[in-house]
Each structure stands twice: as structure tokens, then as C-alpha cells.
Subunit: 196 residues, 2 copies
């Protein structure tokens, strides 16, 4: 057995997703995931702290991308549009990992404990976005409100995109991209808050 | 021992809050809460399912008030302003229970598990608000976005109000009411989403 395994992380993640789908998240052990991937448990733990992290490592990556997106946003952009630009920039990698993301989403939706974890990640994300906006010089409560509104847009857009992608799965692809749905949802949030 | 205890619920809730503050939420048992209130454990369980419910029963009441607030909102109001009117209407009872609400908030903030429960309650709240808007005839994604944005406003406003109230606690009272902070925060959300 060689120490280095080609794409061990990807094989482990895929094996985990398959098993979570087939027999449920709670019923799957790390030993089974490693076996399905043709690797050892020890290799699993070189990449993931536990079986939940297979599903949530992406949340940390997403958060870093979003914070970077705000840092890179043109200084002329309003706080809300800086958040929007960061969301659109972060959508690309999710779109590329579309199959993984959609299968992961189906597993999270089926498990209340994982849904709760997702909500906590979103709250942490909102706090990180607000901090990034404050570093841009945006005062409170504008920073908190733009960050929370941005997470609301992301949440709503992501669910719409996942629903449409799942519905279009027969046709393999088709439907709008996540970046497009985020753009639409932000425009609709602006319309909703402007009316009346 | 009489079966009916004058204001048993209030005495139990207050005893629980005192003990959670003094020795921590995790370190407090139902037996201790009942004892502090001068009541039996059996009486405690007539009012609360467990020690966590002392802190979260109010979330269900708040949710009912908010849904009712949307149902009672003038038909001419935009979805966002219907949510705003519901938030302002629900703020009154929280303001009246100000001492309890602020002490509860300090306990929740000090305990990650309780904070997670609070996030879940807020997500459930957003879903209930979106349903109430759909019953008003608001289509999606406007219903989801207005509901999520409303919860964002509530979250930000509540924390601002609680901070200011805690800071003003020496002077006993003072500072803006929760309804006022909600009104300001909604106006600021509108400004944030309108700019740029």
C-alpha cells in the first residue's frame, strides 16, 4: 500500500456520498466509506476529521471565497452589490461541482441534524461577510444588514437552483446557472424591499 | 399542597433563569428549578416539556404573533412592509417582558447549543412568514425573500436593542424601544438594498 493515493480525497468524498444516499447518513461508518473507496480509515482521517466533515468542508471553502470576493470587489460598489459580486464569484466553483453539490444537498435535506449544521454554517457565514464589509469601512448596522440579506439571497437562490437542477436532471444540465439565479434573486430582493 | 399554584409558570421561569445565570444552563437540573420556585418537579412538567423549553416557549408564541401580524396587515401593504408591520406588532410583548427577554438573551449567548437552537427557531420563523405571505397571494421567490429579509431585520434589530438595553441597564430603561429599532433597521435595509 503506497502512502500517496491518487485523488484519495475525491474517492473518499464520492464513496461517502454514495453510502449516505444508499443507506442513510446515520447508518454509515467511516470504515465503510474507506472500504468503498478502496482506502484505509487512516487515510480517511488524513483528509477529514469525521464523517460529517465530508459534507461541510465545502462550507469553509465557500466562506473563504465569499470573504475574498468582498475584498476583491470594486471600491465603488455599494455594500449590497459587493456582497452580490462575492456571491456570484463563489457560485462558479459550486456550479462546477454541481453533481456533488446536488447529491450533498439531498442528503442534508433528509437529515435534521445536518440541516441544523447547515443553518449554523450560514449564520457563521453572515458574521464573516459582515466583518469583511466592516473592513471595507461599512458602518453598522449597514454591514450586518447587507451581510444577512446576502445570506438570505444565497439561501433562497441556492434552493431554487437545486430544485431546478434536480428537475432538469433527466435532460442532464439545462436550467439557469447558480450565478444567474443569484443575480435574479438579488434583483428580486431589491424589488421587494423597494416596493411600498 | 394545592393542585393550583398561583403563577406557577412565572415562578418556574424566573427560578430557571436565575439558576441558569448563577451556575450555568448545563449545570442546572429541573429538580433544582422546582425547588427554587417552591414547587414540585411534577408541576414543572405541567408547564414545560424540559429545561430548554423555559427558554424557547416564547419563540413559538413569537412565531404565532408574527404570522397573525401578517394576516392582519392592511392588504395594500407590500410584502416587505407587511412583514415589517408584523415585526413591529410582535415587538410590544417582548418589550413588556424586557427583563426576562434580556436575561434569557444573556444565557443563550453564553451557550453554543442554545445559540444553535435559536438559529433553528429563526429558520423555522422565516419559513412560517413565507407561508403566511403566500397565503396573502405573494408569489415566490418574493415571499421567501421578504420573509428571510424580515428575519434578518429582526435578528439585527433584536441584537442592537438588547445591547443598548444592557448598556442602559444602570439607568433602568432608557434607549429606544424594540419597535423603534425594528423600524430603523427596516429603513436601513431598504437604504442598503436601494444604494448602488
Amino acid at each position: 500500500m503506497t502512502r500517496w493515493e491518487p485523488d484519495a480525497r475525491g474517492r473518499l468524498a464520492l464513496a461517502a456520498l454514495e453510502l449516505y444516499s444508499e443507506r442513510g447518513y446515520d447508518q454509515t461508518t467511516v470504515a465503510e466509506i474507506a472500504k468503498r473507496a478502496g482506502l484505509t480509515e487512516r487515510t480517511f482521517f488524513r483528509y477529514f476529521a469525521d464523517k460529517r466533515e465530508v459534507l461541510f468542508q465545502g462550507s469553509d471553502i465557500l466562506q473563504n471565497r465569499l470573504v475574498q470576493g468582498i475584498e476583491n470587489a470594486a471600491p465603488t460598489l455599494s455594500p449590497m452589490d459587493a456582497v452580490g459580486a462575492a456571491l456570484v464569484a463563489a457560485a462558479g466553483p459550486l456550479e462546477e461541482a454541481r453533481d456533488f453539490v446536488l447529491r450533498r444537498q439531498a442528503i442534508v435535506v433528509a437529515n435534521p441534524e445536518l440541516q441544523e449544521r447547515e443553518l449554523i454554517k450560514l449564520a457563521v457565514l453572515a458574521a464573516a461577510l459582515a466583518d469583511a464589509l466592516r473592513r471595507r469601512g461599512v458602518p453598522d448596522p449597514a454591514a450586518s444588514l447587507a451581510a444577512e440579506a446576502g445570506v438570505a439571497v444565497f439561501k433562497v437562490a441556492f434552493l431554487r437552483w437545486a430544485d431546478q437542477a434536480a428537475a432538469a436532471a433527466d435532460g442532464n444540465g439545462g436550467g439557469p446557472t447558480l450565478a444567474q439565479v443569484i443575480g435574479q434573486s438579488l434583483a428580486e430582493l431589491k424589488a421587494v424591499t423597494a416596493a411600498g
